[in-house]
């Protein structure tokens, strides 16, 4: 027992000293450590969530698995795939500080976020919508006036409602309750702790689909924001970003992307959501020759 805690103490203190700065790229880091650490979500259906077997599953999780296979090929050695749970608040800091190498979830690519991290190609298109219980009488964001509305801390959706409040578009202001993850917010909606929950339309469809009684809920309102999804990588690491982007392009070209899409968002998927024409064109145009 003594040896163990002595070891941990020593390790802890050594690790606190800067042994290697972020000058090394992510590819080198993965190669050296033998681990590919991916941030995934546990409440973003169908992009990243927890299955009945308490495992990480979802569209972005499958994408990460493909990236992992490509990494092993590129680095020429077995790499351990490690999933770490992230939420809208922690995903950017954890990529920026090196805890995770990439975040594969449902993150919106915004100009603000570009200051701290970089993004891959766009993998999905959606926007902020509202989830309510049927019969609530809420049809658009204007009806949120004075109601208890939930949102995830640090999300574009939370910012959107706050902005609408500040600009006076919602009068009287909506009472925003901030949660760490969509599953918590949905739980609150189920329990009637909230009148409505806001996040990206596709995720709301996912929450509704996985609910014990989906008929009780409805997604209302038009897109309040424009949310293109991309995966988060570290700032100034072109090699790694290019690697991931090229892999995405390969997946679009050889059909794997569409297969994964079909598995989660196709007619037989968890959340059936046919690809919009815009999205189909976007994918085609992103696939550089």
């Amino acid at each position: 027992m003594r040896k163990d805690y002595l070891k941990i103490l020593v390790i802890a203190f050594i690790l606190l000293f800067p042994l290697s700065s972020f000058a090394q790229g992510t590819l080198e880091k993965i190669s050296k450590s033998g681990e590919f650490v991916v941030g995934v979500r546990d409440g973003a259906i169908p992009f990243g969530f927890i299955s009945k077997e308490n495992e990480h599953v979802g569209f972005s999780v499958d994408m990460a698995k493909e990236f992992h296979k490509a990494l092993e090929k590129k680095l020429g050695k077995p790499i351990k795939l490690v999933f770490k749970t992230t939420n809208p608040k922690t995903r950017i800091p954890l990529v920026a500080n090196g805890t995770i190498d990439i975040e594969c979830g449902s993150t919106t690519h915004t100009v603000d976020r570009e200051e701290t991290v970089d993004f891959t190609l766009t993998v999905f298109l959606t926007g902020t919508q509202i989830l309510v219980k049927k019969g609530s009488g809420i049809k658009s964001y204007k009806d949120l006036a004075g109601k208890k509305v939930g949102a995830a801390q640090g999300s574009t959706n939370e910012k959107a409602i706050r902005d609408l409040n500040d600009k006076g578009e919602i009068k009287p202001a909506a009472n925003i309750v901030v949660y760490q993850e969509h599953s918590q917010g949905f739980l609150a909606l189920q329990r009637n702790i909230l009148d409505a929950y806001v996040t990206d339309g596709i995720l709301l469809a996912g929450l509704k689909a996985k609910a014990p009684n989906p008929e009780e809920y409805e997604v209302v309102g038009g897109f309040i924001t424009y949310d293109p999804y991309a995966y988060i990588v570290r700032e100034n690491d072109s090699k790694f970003r290019d690697f991931i982007n090229i892999e995405i392009i390969k997946m679009i070209k050889d059909g794997r992307f569409y297969q994964i899409y079909d598995k989660w968002l196709g007619p037989k998927g968890v959340v059936p959501y046919p690809m919009s024409e815009e999205f189909k064109i976007l994918l085609k145009l992103q696939a550089w020759p």
């Binding site: 002595l6 941990i8 103490l9 939420n87 954890l94 920026a96 500080n97 739980l187 329990r191």
Partner: protein
């Protein structure tokens, strides 16, 4: 909705138990690491050399003034930025606990050593033992006997504090239960279960602490 549904606990028992094991691991690391560091800091607090005394005092007073949640946030999000490398959730929680609990252990140890009458030290020195030997063979063994109840109580507190690792998503016992709750919405059953399990462990530990205290008595 008054039916108490045991099924959700039984179905997810392996997952919950894994969380409990993580809790135990974190607690053990916090207790042993915190104690080790705490002994050093506690003795530093008794030093007459200012360059040892002041940093130790600052360390203890600072850490005892802020909530553990903040310390956990520091090590998970911010230390990696300063240190240039990530720590991961279990390691950062471990380090946060070791550092935080050490400040509490340090005070217990300092008080314990100071509770030994000066006469002991003087007698020992007059028989020719030096400071180090006195501490090792005379003061600390007696002080330890006095300190053990407080140390054990602090260990129980550490076991409870592991639940705070919830905030960084570490899959310890409480977080595991809330993951299941988010999916199954069986809050009453799950959180009652969590409460009972914690109660059983902590009560047992404090019961044995009281027994020890009664048995050994205080060294005067």
């Amino acid at each position: 909705m008054a039916i108490f549904d045991y099924k959700v606990i039984v179905d997810n028992l392996p997952f919950l138990m894994r969380g409990l094991i993580t809790t135990f691991q974190l607690a053990l690391i916090g207790i042993s690491g915190g104690l080790a560091l705490g002994i050093l800091v506690g003795m530093a607090r008794l030093s007459s050399r200012p360059y040892i005394y002041y940093p130790a005092t600052l360390f203890v007073n600072f850490l005892r003034s802020i909530p553990l949640i903040l310390v956990i946030f520091w090590f998970y999000f911010l230390v990696p930025i300063i240190a240039g490398r990530p720590l991961g959730d279990f390691l950062s929680a471990s380090v946060a606990f070791i550092v935080f609990e050490a400040s509490y252990f340090a005070e217990i140890i300092r008080a314990g050593i100071q509770s030994i009458p000066k006469g002991q030290m003087q007698a020992a020195l007059s028989t020719g033992l030096d400071y180090k030997q006195t501490m090792r063979h005379i003061i600390i063994p007696q002080a330890l006997r006095n300190m053990i109840p407080s140390l054990l109580t602090q260990s129980v507190i550490i076991f409870q504090d592991t639940s705070l690792a919830y905030v960084i998503g570490l899959k310890e016992f409480l977080r595991s239960a809330s993951v299941v709750d988010a999916r199954e919405v069986r809050s009453l059953e799950l959180y009652t279960f969590v409460g009972i399990v914690y109660f059983i462990f902590c009560f047992t530990m404090s019961y044995f602490t009281k027994k020890w205290e009664a048995k050994k008595g205080m060294a005067r």
